[in-house]
Structure formats: structure tokens, C-alpha cells
Amino acid sequence: MRALWTAATGMQAQQLTLDVVANNLANVQTTGFKRSRVDFQDLVYETLQAPGATSAQGQEVPSGFQVGHGSRAVATQRLFIKGDLQQTGNALDLAIEGEGFFQIQQPNGDTAYSRAGAFKKDSQGRVVTSDGFPLEPEITIPANALSIAVGVDGTVSVILPGQQQPQQVGSIQLVRFINPAGLQAQGRNLFILTQASGDATPGTPGQDGLGTLLQGFVEGANVNVVEEMVGLITSQRAYEINSRAIRTADEMMQTANNLVRG
């Protein structure tokens, strides 16, 4: 009986779902985190009788008989639905209202992309992530700046002592991808582009479909605890029913064994 092995693949698939759901839940408070889901497929089938084949009596079989071998996980897909905005009042906390990613320069020189806009200043006044990776294009805040203002279009201006007019020190550019689900997560709230995501298209916030910037807010994780809990229950129950299938197959084999009297 294939049922034993078929059900085992079902249990493995549900274990993987649990891993992904656990990661989503662990990141429920992670700024700019995007939840993932697992995509499953059915495994190959063994055709015991092809539909339309001719039977021994010369009649055409109306429909065939195929037995499958279970399911397998093919992909984890990241969902880029927007997370809730949280007000922090911090001048360098930026949320993207709409599509787009910040460009972050990694220590190896490569560009990574992020939705997490909780920026800080480093010792040189550069705008950096919590890991100290600078925002691209680089923006330096003068040490004596009294206040920082970030416009919806990404222009960063500061007010210096003795001056009344704000002075522009740089402007933030966002990028967008045709298929953000194709981005590869790097950890540290960073994504890198892949062949599937397509190239990054840079632009000014608020233009070409890019979102505007909102100062003093951060984007929370897009993890919905209730939804994840429902996912958790669903996968646990699916795990259970697959284990029940294993038990039933086992009992049937036991019954078959009983046929032979000892």
C-alpha cells in the first residue's frame, strides 16, 4: 500500500508550513517584515489504467485510475502586503506609504533593499540602518543640525543654528520591482534582487507608482497574528489527519496479517 508513504509526505509538508508560520510569528514586531507562505504541489502519479484505454472485453474505459505519491513544498513565497504604520515621532523613522524599497549599502559594496525605515545617525552623521549600513544615496546630517525634516518626496533638509531657512542635505530615492515576491530575504530586514524579481527601477518617492515617505512613522510587520494562528491550526489538523491515514493503513495491514492463523 502506497498510503503509508503518501501520508508521510503530507506530514513533512505540514512540518514545513509550521516552520514558516513560526518564523512569521517570531517576527510579528519586526519593522518592515514581510510574511511568507509555502506553496505545495502534488507529486507524480502512477497510472494504473489510462482513461480512454481499451479493456480486455474491448470496451473503452471511460475514466482511468491514477494513484499519486503525496505532496511536496516547491516554494516559499513572500507576501508584500503593507504592514500597519506605527507613529514613533523619531525624525529618522521613515515609512513608505505605497510600493517601494529603500536602498541600503551592504559592507561588501552590494546594494540591498529594505522596507524597514528605522534609520539612525552614525558617528559621521550618515543616515544608517540599525546595523550601521548606510542608506543609498548617502545622506550626511551636519553634527550641529537642530532639526531634520524629510518631505513626502524624500528631500531631507535640516535647520542649522542661526538660520531660519531649512537647508537641503540630500534626497532619498526609492526603488521598485516588477515582481517583489522574487526578492531573496537576507535577514537583517534586507532583501537582495534575483533574476525573478527583475531589476530595481529607481525613482523619486511619490512618482512612477512609488509610495511617498512619512516621517516619524515605521512600517510594522505585515504578520496578522489571527491569520497565522488559523494557519497554525490548519497545518496542525492537516498533520493530524495525515497521521490518521498512516494509522489506518497500518491497521489494514494488521488486519491482513490476521488472515493467516498462527
Binding site: T6, Q14, L43, Y45, A50, G64, Q66, S71, M252
Partner: protein, 237 residues
């Protein structure tokens, strides 16, 4: 010994087949676009038997039917996640020819073509669809647009006779070209995925019934065996 023992055995074997199919459905209760199967054991069988033995009581699988009923649609918000509402399937181009699927979890290939996770192109009315631009908008009639204009229209077809469709795995169906026709009734839902149409309750009930029926056949075989033993013992006295 008469055929009764073998008739009971045929029943037990049929239940094992049913178990395999049920386990397959249960393993795919979370597979996107999966369609469950149903087995039928019916009197149709008598017609297939040789004329001299139509006493009945023989059991084998008469029919396996894939249930093409609608699965629930889960919204994901991903622009390349497409669900179908109504009778219809997407057409994908594989190395082995055209295949059909209800799994609308698509992605983009390096050159911007809409593909399955395996890399097989989703076919539009004019062949594979290559996305140019940065936004993808797909209308319910399957029209694909970006900000640079219309790209194409997703081909949605239906099976004339769903019983003649073969499952290939990887969420793909195979069907003869004559068994496929345009499906004007199906609607494309962007940002959603169709869940498996396997009902866990039905599967659990099937499991119980399979187990009990299998047991019943075993009892019957044992009973017949002990009857035969008695006859043999009596005759030898």
C-alpha cells in the same frame, strides 16, 4: 472452493486502492489548486466480466473521477497570484507540450515572462506573455496590462470531458487537444490563490469506512476458511 473467497479478496483489494487515493487527497489538503479524486465501485463491473461469470459480487475500481469543484480562494495580495473562479484552467507550455493547471501561483522568469515555479510559461492568446514596465494589472477577463499598455490576454480553457483528464503531478493536468475548449465563463482573480478542494471531514469519514469495510472482508474470508476447514475435517473422518 468456490469464487466467494476471491470475491471477498477483490473487495479487500479495492478498499486498499481507495485508501491510496484517500491518502493522496489528504496529503494534498493544502496544495494550491489541487483537485481531489473519487473512486467508484459499481455494477458497471458485471458488464466487463466474461458472460459465463456474471454472478456479481466482484469488486474492482470502476472509475476514478477527479472532482473539479471550486476550492476556496485565499487572498494573498501578490500581483502574480491568480485564482480561477468557475469552470476553467490555465494553459502552460512545458517541454512535453501544453499542460493545464488551476494553480495560479506564478512568478517571473529573468526575461520578464510569466512562468510557473518550474519555469513553464503561462500561455496567453498570443503565446507566452512578457511583462514590460513595473506594474502588473490583470482584469477578471484575463487581460494583462502594465503602465506601458496591454500585454495580452491569459488563455483560459475548460475540459469538455473532465473524466478523460490525466493528472501529471506538479499541479498539472494533461488532456487531449479535442478535450479542450475555450472557457468564457471563468473569471481570473488577481491577488488570490485557489486552495485545495479536499474536504478533511469527507477524508476522515472515508478513512473510517475503508478500515471497517476492509475488516469486514477479512472476517468474511476467515469465516469461509473455517467453514472449508470444517468440511475437510468432516470428510476425512
Amino acid at each position: 472452493m468456490d469464487a466467494a473467497m476471491y470475491k471477498a479478496l477483490s473487495g479487500a483489494v479495492a478498499q486498499m486502492r481507495r485508501m491510496d487515493v484517500t491518502a493522496q487527497d489528504m496529503a494534498n489538503s493544502n496544495t494550491t489548486g489541487y483537485k481531489g479524486d473519487r473512486l467508484a465501485f459499481s455494477e458497471v463491473l458485471a458488464e466487463r466480466l466474461p458472460a459465463e461469470d456474471r454472478s456479481g459480487g466482484w469488486v474492482a475500481v470502476a472509475d476514478q473521477r477527479t472532482q473539479f469543484s471550486q476550492g476556496g480562494i485565499q487572498m494573498t495580495g501578490n500581483p502574480l497570484n491568480l485564482a480561477l473562479e468557475g469552470d476553467g484552467v490555465f494553459v502552460v507550455e512545458t517541454a512535453r507540450g501544453e499542460r493545464y493547471t488551476r494553480n495560479g501561483g506564478f512568478t517571473l522568469s529573468p526575461d520578464g515572462t510569466i512562468v510557473t515555479p518550474q519555469g513553464d510559461a503561462l500561455l496567453g492568446e498570443g503565446g507566452p506573455m512578457q511583462i514590460t514596465g513595473t506594474t502588473i494589472e490583470i482584469a477578471s477577463d484575463g487581460t494583462v496590462k502594465s503602465e506601458q499598455g496591454e500585454i495580452g490576454r491569459i488563455r483560459v480553457v475548460r475540459f469538455v470531458n473532465p473524466d478523460q483528464v490525466v493528472k501529471e503531478g506538479a499541479n498539472l493536468f494533461r488532456a487531449a487537444p479535442a478535450n479542450v475548449e475555450e472557457a468564457p465563463g471563468a473569471r481570473v482573480v488577481q491577488g488570490g490563490l485557489e486552495q485545495s478542494n479536499v474536504s478533511p471531514i469527507d477524508s476522515m469519514v472515508s478513512l473510517i469506512s475503508i478500515n471497517r469495510q476492509f475488516e469486514a472482508y477479512e472476517r468474511a474470508m476467515k469465516l469461509m476458511d473455517s467453514e472449508t476447514e470444517k468440511i475437510v475435517a468432516d470428510a476425512g473422518r
